[in-house]
Each structure stands twice: as structure tokens, then as C-alpha cells.
């Protein structure tokens, strides 16, 4: 059984069936890519996984526990982190503070009234955050205003913020969308490095086949809200059904 199990999930938006009988099982410690043409329902599926959307029917369980009806912060506390399509960071805060916040969330849970403690005295937390910044190669930018970072750096920062919580499952929604080739390759390297360094399961939604085939160990092809096939990258490449549904319409 996988770390994440999606069973018979359906989701309708008015007359539109965005997800139809979705069954998906993501195995622990794999990089699992979910691909599919625009409007296939990939983002909708991700939103179901993180508690942003509640499916009409079906079940989603993480490590055997149902996540349905849980708030996004509760799902995160279970060990699922998410990187957004456009980086969601704390623009007004410094880079270090951005990473400190998930450190505190990881240690203290969803809420704690630590109003008379001092951030400066939390050496353990600061060390943890600085080490994470070192891992993503941003240690020299730690005092910068997060809003002033380049787009690539914002994405790295967001990944650092997710990774410092040591999530069991990291969800990435088009992590390279709108990036230049060089930045894309940097991101691929970063993700590979992260994967090599720690036990982590990743689910990547991606449009760029180059990224998918460099990272993924399993691929699920989604079309019109239903998984078409799930297989290894090699088999996916050769599958005529996939070609027809998806690869035919995009340059590989």
C-alpha cells in the first residue's frame, strides 16, 4: 500500500466533471509525476490532496489516515507540504524569517502563544533554518527581503520552507512553469539532490516532459479527469494511448 491512497474520487464543478473515478497510489520514497493536457484535472487533484477542495465522493488517505475534511494546516501537520505554481512566500519578511516560520510550525504545531520568548534566542531553530538555506544555496541571501528575490530564488526559498519541515510527502505544482531552461535545470538538480539526501516522497505535476523524464520513477497520465495509465517513464514513452491523448499534442 502506498503512502498516499486516492480511491474513487469524483469532483464536479457545476456540469463539469473535473475528476472522474480517480484511483491513485503513491509509493513511499518515489518521485511520482502526474501529467496530462491542460484542463485534465491535475491541479484539482492536488487541491483535493491538500484539503483545499473536498471531493464529492471517494476517499483520500495519507499513511492510512483519511485527510478528507481536514483543514490545510492539519494536513500539513500530518506531513504533506506543497509548493505552489506561483511561489507563495512571506514577501515582507527576510529570507531567514521565511524559513524560521515553518521551523516553528514544525516544532510547536498549529498554534502556540510564544509571545514572551525571543526569536534571537532560538538558536536551535536558527541553526536549522540556516542549514536549510545552505542546502538550497541561499545562505548568502538570508538577510534579504524575500519580495526582492528573483523568481528562481523565490521558488528555491519556497522549497526550503517546505523541506525544513521534513515532510513525508512533497507536492509540487508545475515547479518549473515559466522558468528559463537554465533555471529549470537548476530546479531539476535541486530536486535530485534533495531526493538523494533524505527519505522523501514527491508528487510532481509537470508540463515539461524534460523535467518529468529526468525525475520521475512513476508516471500517471491524467486525461479528462481520469487516470489513463500509470507506469514507468520508459513504458509511458512507448505507450501509444498516451501518445494519442497527450504526447501527440505537446513537443517532447
Amino acid at each position: 500500500m502506498g503512502i498516499l491512497e486516492v480511491k474513487n474520487v469524483n469532483k464536479r464543478f457545476g456540469g463539469l466533471q473535473a475528476l472522474k473515478d480517480v484511483n491513485l497510489s503513491i509509493m513511499e520514497n518515489t518521485v511520482h509525476a502526474i501529467i496530462g493536457p491542460n484542463g485534465a484535472g491535475k491541479s484539482t487533484l492536488l487541491n483535493v490532496l491538500v484539503g483545499k477542495l473536498i471531493p464529492d465522493t471517494g476517499s483520500v488517505s495519507f499513511q492510512g489516515k483519511s485527510v478528507l475534511g481536514c483543514k490545510p494546516y492539519e494536513i500539513n501537520q500530518m506531513g504533506i507540504s506543497r509548493v505552489f505554481q506561483t511561489p507563495e512566500i512571506y514577501g515582507d519578511l527576510s529570507v531567514l524569517e521565511n524559513v524560521l516560520i515553518p521551523c516553528f510550525a514544525h516544532r510547536d504545531g498549529a498554534f502556540r502563544l510564544h509571545a514572551l520568548e525571543t526569536v534571537e534566542h532560538e538558536t536551535g531553530m536558527i541553526e536549522m533554518a540556516e542549514k536549510m538555506l545552505l542546502d538550497v544555496n541561499m545562505q548568502d541571501k538570508k538577510d534579504m527581503h524575500a519580495a526582492s528575490l528573483s523568481r528562481g530564488d523565490k521558488r528555491r526559498l519556497e522549497m526550503a520552507m517546505c523541506l525544513v519541515q521534513e515532510p513525508k510527502l512533497l507536492l509540487l505544482d508545475e515547479p518549473t512553469a515559466g522558468m528559463a531552461r537554465a533555471d529549470t535545470n537548476n530546479t531539476i538538480d535541486l530536486l535530485k539532490e534533495i531526493k538523494a539526501k533524505r527519505d522523501i516522497t514527491m508528487a510532481i505535476i509537470e508540463h515539461d516532459m524534460h523535467v518529468v523524464f529526468s525525475l520521475a520513477e512513476r508516471i500517471t497520465v491524467l486525461a479528462q479527469g481520469t487516470p489513463l495509465v500509470e507506469d514507468t517513464p520508459e513504458n509511458i514513452k512507448g505507450n501509444p494511448k498516451v501518445r494519442e491523448a497527450y504526447l501527440g499534442t505537446a513537443e517532447v
Binding site: 494546516y73 507540504s81 515553518p102 498549529a110 509571545a115 514572551l116 534566542h121
Partner: protein, 402 residues
């Protein structure tokens, strides 16, 4: 010291010194000079500066850090005042029970209002707080007359039970017998400096309140509040629930308001419904923004300057203006006085409006930003080469701004 780093300790010491020497600082002109009317060293005014400083400091914890703009904080000020006066009536004229109940009751009250209003954010939050404060005002004014004494306001009367006071106890709010209204006047070099028990009591509490607000700013909790302002979505997906953070900030700021309300009642033992009116809620918003929202010192500066200017401007009537412009020919003098009198005396609100407009337009960071710009200007003048290096010249500004 006290869990603060060196810079903050220095900053706190400066604030303490400024507060303790206020009776001198606000009394710069000698008694018989023409400028004596600009002196502000009266106990009443100084205590008001300290009290409204506390009010604004608390408001800033909510608005400055989380960005939630409450338009109903005067309700908590009012609750604090009523609670304090009831304590004076029932228990004792000693101020401690009064202030403690003021803080507790405003905490309960703000928990209630905050719980409801914080279900929404942005303008809806502001409108909800405004509506609830107006409701409280109306209730205090009419329905709750048995508790609030309606229009007349709640007062201390000679036949109050005051079960803890003996027949010989002081008849004014006091600190274990030392009446807050008692003062020591020091007449020296044509200056009269007034050292008032009430002012110093408010000042000490204001310093403690300032210290607590400083600690909150530097705490992980303060960091979370700033995160709320910047990106709640990210917080949610980082395993943090923003709601209890905003609610805690709301309650803390409500307690500051209640404390301020209690102190107002201690300085003058009477509480009226108008203390809860929307104009009073708006005033604290203006104080905070004028001084610099989100900075530590800003709200206090805002409160101080508004209360001082209010006092001065309200005193300038047409006679004073005629006196000032007596050198002009009569027709012109009348015209000038007519125009200026719209902005003084009763028309003080007009000046405040103009001042607020100017500051918001040209100094969005408030008086604190103005101060920082001045400091930078002088520094550049003083040392043209490399003078901006923060390593060699620790900037005094950032520990005010956060």
C-alpha cells in the same frame, strides 16, 4: 537585559528616560514668556499622552503586525473605564483592583468581539468591529443604564459601598492611600514643573506596556503575526492556523485598550458612553498611522503629538488670534483671524485631518519614517564617504521600525 539584546535595551532605556523627564520636556518655556501657552507639562495632558500611548501601542500589536484594521477598539477602552469605576464604587478607591478588573473584563469582551469579527478579513472585518463597537455604545447609552448610568455617565458617589475602604480612606483614586491627583510643584528659574502621582503611575504602567509590546515584536509569536499580514495562504499550507494568532493579537490589543480605559478612570473617576463612540475608535487608528504603524515607538509618538496638539490648538480662540495678528490692519486682521479660527479651538479636527492627510501622503511610514529620513540626511551630510555603512554606524532606526 530583561531578555532584550543590547540595542533594544538601549532603546528601552531611552524611552524610560524620556518618560520620566516628561514633566521637564513638555514644559520648555518659562512661565511669563509669550510661548508659555505652548507648554504641555500639565499632569492631565501628560497622563493622557501616556494613556493614549498605551491604547495605541496595543492597537498597533493588532493593526501594525497583522494588518487587521479594527474600527471598534474604543469599545474596550469604554469597558475598561466602566469596570474601573465599578471597582471604585463597590470595593475601594485604590486603583489596583480597578485596573486589574478593567484588563480582565476587556479581555473577555475582546475575545467575544474578536471571535465573531475575525471570521472575516479586510474591509468586512473592519465593518464588523465598527458595528459591534457602535452596538456597545448604544447599549451603554440606553439599554444598560443600570450598569452604565446612561447619558449621565458612571460616577463615584459619597454613598457608594466601597466595602474595602475605611471611613478614613482617601476620597480620590489612590495608590494605597497616595492620591493620584496630588502633585509636587517645583518653581525654578521661572519654570513651574509639576510632578504628579497620577502621571508617574500612568508612566510606569506605560513603560511596562511598552516593554511587553517590545517583547511581543521580537517573539516567535510576533513573527507569526507578521506572517499573517504577509501571506495567510502560505501559513495555512505551513501547518499554521492563522485564526488563533489573530485572535490572540486581538485580545492582547483589547487588553491594552482596557488598561488605558482603566487608567483614564483612575485619573478622573467617571465613565461615559461617548468613550466608546466611533470617533474614539477612529482616533486610535489615526494616532497609530500618524506615528508609524508596525513600528514600536510610532504609536506612542502619534498619541503624544495628537494629544499635545489637540490641547494647544483647542486653547487658541479668536481673542488669542487677534492678539497675535494685532500688527495687521484691522480688515486684514479680521480676515486672517477668521480663516485661522476655522482650524483652531473647535476647529481642531480640521487641522488634524489636514495633518493626517499630509503625513499619509508624504510620509506613509508616519513620524517614525520622518525621523529616519532626518537621521539619514544628517548622517550623509556629516560623513560624505562611506557614512552609510551600517556596520560602522548602527542605524538607530531599524530597532524602532521592525
Amino acid at each position: 537585559m530583561l531578555g532584550l539584546n543590547k540595542r533594544d535595551t538601549k532603546f528601552l532605556i531611552i524611552v524610560i528616560l524620556l518618560t520620566l523627564f516628561t514633566p521637564f520636556l513638555m514644559q520648555p518655556f518659562s512661565e511669563n514668556s509669550a510661548l508659555a501657552q505652548f507648554n504641555g507639562g500639565y499632569p492631565d495632558l501628560m497622563a493622557k499622552v501616556a494613556i493614549f500611548g498605551i491604547f495605541a501601542m496595543g492597537f498597533n500589536i493588532l493593526f501594525g503586525l497583522t494588518g487587521y484594521l479594527s474600527f471598534g477598539h474604543a469599545a474596550f477602552l469604554g469597558v475598561g473605564s466602566y469596570a474601573a469605576v465599578w471597582m471604585f464604587k463597590l470595593l475601594t478607591l485604590n486603583v489596583f483592583p480597578a485596573i486589574i478588573l478593567a484588563v480582565i473584563l476587556s479581555a473577555v469582551f475582546s475575545l467575544l468581539i474578536g471571535y465573531i469579527s475575525l471570521r472575516r478579513s479586510g474591509i468586512y472585518f473592519s465593518i464588523l468591529t465598527l458595528a459591534m463597537a457602535e452596538m456597545s455604545y448604544r447599549l451603554a447609552y440606553s439599554v444598560l443604564t443600570p450598569l452604565t448610568n446612561g447619558e449621565t455617565g458612571l460616577q463615584v458617589r459619597p454613598n457608594d459601598p466601597r466595602i474595602l475602604d475605611s471611613a478614613t480612606s482617601a476620597n480620590y483614586p489612590n495608590l494605597f492611600g497616595l492620591e493620584l491627583s496630588s502633585s509636587y510643584k517645583w518653581d525654578v528659574l521661572n519654570h513651574v514643573f509639576t510632578f504628579n502621582v497620577g502621571y508617574y503611575f500612568c508612566a510606569v504602567i506605560a513603560i511596562i506596556a511598552f516593554y511587553i509590546s517590545m517583547r511581543i515584536f521580537r517573539s516567535p509569536f510576533g513573527l507569526m503575526l507578521r506572517a499573517v499580514k504577509t501571506n495567510q495562504q502560505r501559513m495555512n499550507y505551513t501547518g499554521l492556523n492563522p485564526r488563533p494568532y489573530t485572535l490572540a493579537a486581538f485580545v492582547i490589543s483589547g487588553m491594552y485598550a482596557g488598561l488605558a480605559g482603566g487608567l483614564l478612570a483612575a485619573m478622573d473617576p467617571l465613565a461615559g458612553a461617548e468613550r466608546m463612540q466611533w470617533t474614539a475608535s477612529g482616533e486610535v487608528v489615526i494616532m497609530t498611522i500618524l506615528g508609524g504603524a508596525g513600528t514600536l515607538l510610532g504609536p506612542v509618538l502619534g498619541a503624544g503629538s495628537i494629544k499635545y496638539l489637540e490641547n494647544i490648538f483647542s486653547k487658541i480662540n479668536e481673542n488669542v488670534l487677534h492678539d497675535w495678528f494685532s500688527f495687521l490692519p484691522t480688515g486684514l486682521q479680521d480676515a486672517v483671524v477668521w480663516v485661522l479660527s476655522r482650524f483652531t479651538g473647535e476647529g481642531w479636527a480640521l487641522t488634524l485631518g489636514l495633518l493626517f492627510m499630509l503625513v499619509v501622503t508624504f510620509l506613509p511610514g508616519g513620524l517614525v519614517e520622518g525621523g529616519q529620513r532626518l537621521v539619514r540626511l544628517f548622517r550623509r551630510r556629516g560623513k560624505p564617504d562611506g557614512g552609510d555603512d551600517p556596520q560602522h554606524h548602527p542605524d538607530p532606526a531599524p530597532h524602532v521600525a521592525e
